[in-house]
Symmetry: D2
Subunit: 275 residues, 4 copies
């Protein structure tokens, strides 16, 4: 009945997602001597040590709670600080697919916000990859740093308190995620930083921004395979006998614009687009 | 102007996505002496060797085509064989997020079909991870094997021509994806194969299947954190001056049911659910 | 500067929708001597009399408010009592189209609830049409009656405190709307009440209900042209310079099942469906 | 076994929707001596005369077909001529609700196209209402006229071959529907033609058009209660035992902008919007 710490067994210092019910969910790191409270009774951290994940613990009230390993999406739901609008897992999933992210990849991030996307990128590129994250606001950057520490992925990320519009340090990068209000301002910087053929995803809340970005890419040239997406996630009540979508949903987070950094298209005989 | 083969520069044997326009897209591996045809002219593979990805090549007609590294989503769009309904990237992205897949993970797949999901899992777990894929139909398995070879990920996958309902060989796995018409039949097998707390995603086209699976999980016990999702992907025409959603869309592929394998919930005083 | 009372000009007894801003909206009937309050100041009903609809009135605070004719959708948003889950305008619109409702039509309604759908049907059939509405709960029926009075459409509706499963009084009806948890129980009653070829719409929150209704119609026969719909309404922030969908939306109200009452299908040589 | 012609019983000259199966659907008017063909056999119109709607007729091949009254939505699906992109019933339904259309209403239509919306409006306003429809293209107008004749609603509509941007003849109208690429050009005309408080719906395919219209209304003033909607209609396979959404759907027709014609908003102390 052994097992690896934090993977199979709860040891001191391991993160735990404690689930009483749909709404009573607690995410914390186990510390000897501490107590996790709730309006349904308490549990001593000491009583969690040695438990296997996936097992049940009884609170002081007798109520049962489930002991789980937190996933990134659990952290994002309730274990992290949030100082800004964040990108959601529904969008993160598509970003991973569009950018074709692999372990070992080197990724640029412009606009870190609370660091949710940073975390997702850091997990996907693995210990052999690297994320270079630029953010102009120091308070955001600090929040992102704490969140990355919380999930244990800070060592793969270089957080830079810099305005990426003025340039970035890296070259030959495999992918980029841009989450800022005026992404057209970083197109030249992106073009220099990405390796030829690499993709970038731009996250934009309003359609006017999408229009303007598309027009800017068109005008500048050097971008191809442009796509604009919107991901709608419907969640259903998980009841076998009365299955139905939840009544409300997040109807909008933002649009995802994907494009690949390519060489300027040469002129072509009879070319109407660029003479 | 150097660069790594197949990453920066097209060498013999490298895969190429050749893009003339939205519909004229060709995905192939470069072989000396071969020619890629199209109704807009041809290009000799020899002329591609040495080109940087992201650059343009002129076809015999004078038309220009873009030379790109194919991503998994490009392969899935036109570079792979398809013998079955497949899961789409929009769903793959969410699956990666729900299962919290990391480099190094060991994943079970039941129902391989054409191997599209296998490929996505294999890329996400990296060279240090492993995918164990069970499929009852040998023709499907053969298609999946060829597709895995095409994308160069076969070495991370163990394809097994076996009925998973009768059991699987692995234990302590980190995650599972199940794509079969009667997933309730593998619930006990999954429970044994997954490490405690690990998650599984079930892909199901019809709501009746979702209902039945939810009821079966409820009855059996040992599953928690159940969620039911549907991902809708809207794509927009990428025109800055006339931005609008594409007229038609894939309105349905399937429902995703997520659940975590946990211990049987102990009885509780005053418990209405399990006396 | 004349005009018709309650259409162009506010007279005593006319309904008014008073709009200060997006959230401060008041719907009432004008009564001499009364005052409409708000946290932004008050307006005396006497000051509204004689105003043209579409004009502005100044509150005691100096703030401006718009004086409008309430539409049915305005009433449904804030001018009516609600004792139950209601069907929304997005669904009402499709119901009108599916049932091909015309002025003069005679419509059956089973399951009145708060009477929102009754109101929509009553307006569509006009003064020459008629709505026959059955409801088992007397409290609901009372709410519906008050709501119909509020919008001034009670005279076109016959509210019946009766269990429609036991039969209805009418025959040869042009259409039916059924909003009850077990609509399969009224299929024979509907078949007798509708004229041949007439359509019925069933409103159902859960997919299991839809499945069961479809199976029941299939088994019984006498129904054709069956369709199942779901209407998703996305609303955008009405800002020209930052156009984007509202963040949250009503993701689910219910499914609409449409079917036409036809004759039992005769047996056919080689008929697999009904031997 | 009597009944009213064209309502209950098929008489000469009555319209019939003949349904063999999901795809074999024919919409025609019954004429003595004619024959309706299909790849599954034929039926003589003479054999239809006297049949009740909702009953079955046997084709020459022995196959059965259903005899139904066509609804407007059936006409729009296959019984009308189409020279342009049309508005769909999913949008028509919401338009009826937003405009609060009642029997007797007088409605303005700018941009007639193939007349689909004209037909819907004409049915909703009834014999006592009136639709005034402006269209600059004479070929469109001719198509609309034929379509209105086909459904028997031409007598309620005044088709005008005129550029509405230069003005319309009517005043005090109850509602307007505008389907043209540059609706901002008719805002002054609309303002004069609509009675105070009346609503208008603008149908626009691209978001840029929506942005521009919103900005124009904002700038001009005289419009309030602005709303922007998009209706998504999901259709399900109508099978009780394998219920699932249809694989593809119409993902986009257009955006609906609703606004009410009001008086110019007076200046207000401390008013930031209009000084």
């Amino acid at each position: 009945m052994g097992g690896e710490c934090c993977r199979d067994v709860v040891c001191e210092g391991c993160p735990v997602l404690l689930v009483l019910d749909e709404r009573r969910r607690f995410l914390f790191r186990v510390e000897r001597g501490r107590v996790q409270g709730s309006d349904r009774g308490v549990v001593r951290h000491d009583d969690l040590v040695g438990l296997r994940y996936g097992s049940w613990v009884r609170l002081s009230s007798g109520a049962l709670a489930l002991v789980l390993q937190p996933r990134l999406v659990d952290y994002m739901e309730r274990g992290l600080r949030r100082r800004s609008q964040v990108i959601y897992p529904k969008d993160h999933g598509l970003i991973l697919m569009l950018l074709d992210l692999k372990p070992g990849a080197r990724v640029l991030e412009i606009g870190v916000g609370s660091g949710y996307t940073t975390i997702v990128l850091a997990q996907a590129v693995g210990a052999t990859g690297r994320v270079y994250s630029y953010e102009v606001r120091s308070d955001m950057l600090e929040t992102a740093r704490k969140n990355l520490e919380t999930v244990g992925l800070l060592d793969r990320v270089e957080l830079k308190h810099r305005d990426a519009r003025l340039g970035v340090d890296e070259e030959g990068l495999d992918a980029a995620v841009v989450d800022m209000p005026d992404p057209w301002a970083v197109l030249p910087v992106l073009h220099r930083a990405l390796r030829p053929g690499a993709g970038a995803v731009f996250f934009l809340p309003a359609v006017n921004q999408v229009s303007r970005l598309l027009s800017a890419m068109d005008l500048r040239g050097g971008w191809a395979e442009t796509r604009v997406y919107e991901v709608l996630l419907r969640e259903y009540e998980p009841r076998g006998d009365a299955l139905r979508p939840k009544t409300t949903m997040i109807a909008h987070t933002g649009y995802l614009v994907y494009a690949r950094r390519v060489e300027e298209r040469p002129a072509q005989v009879g070319d109407r687009n660029r003479g």
